[in-house]
Every structure is written in C-alpha cells, then in structure tokens.
Subunit: 246 residues, 2 copies
C-alpha cells in the first residue's frame, strides 16, 4: 500500500491546549450520563492566550451548538483498556473500547456537542457560555468546531444499544443539608438545590454500586462535597462539606 | 480560578496514530464538499498494530455510523490562520477559524461521521469499510467512536450560514478520456466514470478559480490524475494521466 509509506505506523502528533472548561463537576463520579437534563449546571469555556482573540470566534455566535474537543485529563494517566462494560448496558456486557465513548481510550480524546448561549469578552478573557454539558472542571480544550446539522445530525442512525429511558429518582434533603444549601445559594447565586436534585436524580452510582443501600457517597460540585446515601428507593442528601481549593 | 492551577496554560498532549485511511482522494483539491453525494468512492479504515485486534471493535458493527477522528496531515505543516473564507459562503466573508471546519486549525484535528458498512479481518489486517467519506488517502486516524443519535443528532440545531443546495453540473468526456476510463474500470473493477462524474459535478474549484474558464486542472483519484477544464457551463474530462506511486 503506497499510502502506508508516507507516514510510519508509529506516527504521533503533539496537540496544544487552546482553552479550559469551568464547570461545577469536580470528579467523573458526579457527571450525569444525560447532561441535557441538568439545566442548573453552568459551564463556560475560556480561551487561553494566544487563542483569546475575538477574531478566532468571529461568526461562531450564529451557531446554536458547537463541538468541544477535549482531553480526558483526569483519567488519562490510567491508560486504556481493550474492552469496557458500558453503564448503559448495566455493566453486564463487554464492548470494544472503540465501540464506546469510554474515557480510557488509546488517545484520551473526548467530544461533546453543547449549546452555545453567548460569547463574552473583557479584561483579556474570551469566554463561551455553554448550556448543559458533561464536562469536568479544568478540562483542557483542544478544538472548537461549529455543529453543522446537514452533516452532523443523522436522525436515522442506528445505535448499537438501546437508550434506557431516564427515570428521575426522588431526592430528599436532611434539614441540615437543606439549610446549608440555602445559605450557599444566597451567598453565590448558584442554583444548588436544583443541581443536586438533577445530578442525584439520574443516579450517579456506577453499576457495581447499585445494590449497596445505605452506603455513604460524596459527589463534588463546585467547591462542595455533597454527602448522600441511597436508601429505601430514594436519595438522601445528608450534609455539605467544603472542599479546600486544589 | 482554582481550575487553572491544576494544568498550566502551555499544556500539550501527545497522540498516537491508531489507523490509516485508504481512499481514492490523493489531494485536498478533489475532495467533495458534500461527500454523501459521492457514492462511488470506496473508503476503508485499517487499524494499525497494536490496535488491529477484533476485541477493540467488539459491538461496533451494531452501529450504522461512526465518528472518525483524524489528523489533517497534508496541510498540518502549513500552520493555522485566525480567519478563513469558507467556500460555502462563496469566499466573500471571513469567519474565525473556530467558526469553520477549516483544515488550517491551531490543532489539525478533523472529524467525520461516516456510515460503517462492515468490518473484515484476516492476515493480521482489521479493516472497517466505510460509506461515502471526505477523507484523503493515507490520513492518520487517532480515534473511532460510535455515533449516538440521542446525543449527536440535534435536528433543530441552527447553522451560522445557509447550506447551498448542490446543483450537480454536467460532466462530459473526450473520446480519449472515456476510452481510458473504460480500460481502467475493466482492469481494476473501480467505478471510475461514476466517481469522476460525482466529484467534478460538485465543482471542486475553489471560489477564486470559479471565473477562470478554459483553464486546465488536475484532480488526483486513486493512482490517476484526471485532467479537466470547465468550459461553456460544463466540465470536460480531457485525459487521464498515471501517477507514479509516492
């Protein structure tokens, strides 16, 4: 094959970070599987120098959605695995890594299509304000592309496995947790109660933890650790802990 | 922002090639802007060792479409430009590079959604057979992901500029060119006449060359250089030249 001669089989490519994500999600554990449901999550994409020039995004505001290409930075040092048990299949079936969107890939590349709400600039900061997204805080962004419906939206594409309907679970708060939430909302203006309700309501537990009732879990949102347990068919938020800045 | 402290602004990432594209397109000039129309182009994606294990694509055959992530290898050494004149806008308007799918990007990352027709393996080769694609021969592939309609197909997304309807132009052949095509088809089994008709019919000329009637052009397809000109409102294929293997 002549085409193999021009590039060796060991070709590698150096990519540079062009932006960074700011979001409420501090760890993979809390990220919802259907981000569109979590309307209370505010996500921004900040372009970094020398890419923080308005010129580079000229015309982008005319698109309702964009592709964000990023690096799975939190898991990239863990390497990749040939097969994965996708959560959507209840963890019962193994699929090849290229048949999944797993974070543990040969190249730790992620992509998400997100709504572009507005672009703001000032004080040398160029910021894209995004709709509900499944992006971890501090995620390095390596590319932005417009979403082109005529090319990207294939309505009759067939997925390899069925989408499980999301039945939102009930989320309750202890008095202590609710008081902490309300004080936090007053101080920051963030819709914390709604966010917790939406994140826990989708059941963030990995498949292998679904059976363990009464066990305490922590989910990091913004600068908080939300302590909760699943008991008697609902989620109970017990308290909030403040995380120290990392 | 604490999130900026965890990764520096100069973070870079090393990606490795996992596969290679085999296609009829030898140069960017011949690549159709709406690849779905070119049904005569056969494209394959060959996974390279150590990624040529069937395990890694287990379950992928259940998806009708896949995302192919690749490197714009033919133009990557030319660097990037802050603004671009997209061909779709007739070359009259400048858009920021992140508002386009231009090949000249800060990171030379491309992505295409393509139909997955079948997967074959044998003699250590693991090959994905793709539908119509806009991929150059020898393109390095860095990731494969399933197309998930529930996440990726946003039918009501709004594009920043209108899609121009493709009016296929008429394509004629000189007797010499047609004889050469028919001999080539007999020898290789490739549908060359149909491919040339579909590729030229979309008008591969960049906007700045649209006015120059009667000028000779060459478009490389497989191991051929197709010599043609645009004259009196149609495309005329004059002859085929054989390219030497590179």
């Amino acid at each position: 094959m002549t085409s193999q001669q021009s590039l060796g089989q060991d070709a590698s490519f150096q990519l540079q970070q062009i932006g960074i994500i700011h979001s409420c999600y501090r760890q993979k554990f809390g990220i919802p599987r259907q981000p569109g449901i979590v309307t209370a999550a505010e996500t921004t994409l900040e372009l970094l120098a020398p890419f923080n020039q308005e010129n580079l995004v000229r015309g982008l505001e005319g698109f309702s959605h964009i592709w964000v290409h990023f690096i799975f930075h939190q898991t990239m040092d863990e390497g990749w695995r040939p097969t994965i048990r996708p959560p959507r299949l209840g963890g019962r079936q193994r699929m090849g890594v290229f048949a999944t969107r797993s974070t543990h890939r040969p190249n730790p590349l992620g992509m998400s299509v997100v709504e572009l709400q507005k672009i703001t600039s000032g004080n040398g900061r160029l910021v894209l304000h995004l709709g509900a997204a499944d992006l971890l805080d501090a995620t390095p962004v390596i590319d932005i592309k417009p979403y082109l419906p005529y090319a990207d939206a294939i309505a009759d594409a067939k997925g390899g496995f069925a989408v499980l309907p999301t039945q939102m679970a009930e989320v309750k708060f202890t008095d202590q947790a609710m008081n902490q939430c309300l004080r936090y909302e007053q101080r920051t203006g963030r819709k914390l109660v709604q966010l917790i309700d939406q994140v826990l309501g989708q059941d963030p537990r990995p498949a292998y933890l679904r059976e363990s009732s009464g066990r305490r879990h922590g989910t990091a949102l913004w600068d908080l650790n939300v302590v909760w347990e699943h008991t008697d068919g609902y989620f109970l938020v017990r308290e909030l802990e403040y995380l120290t800045a990392n």
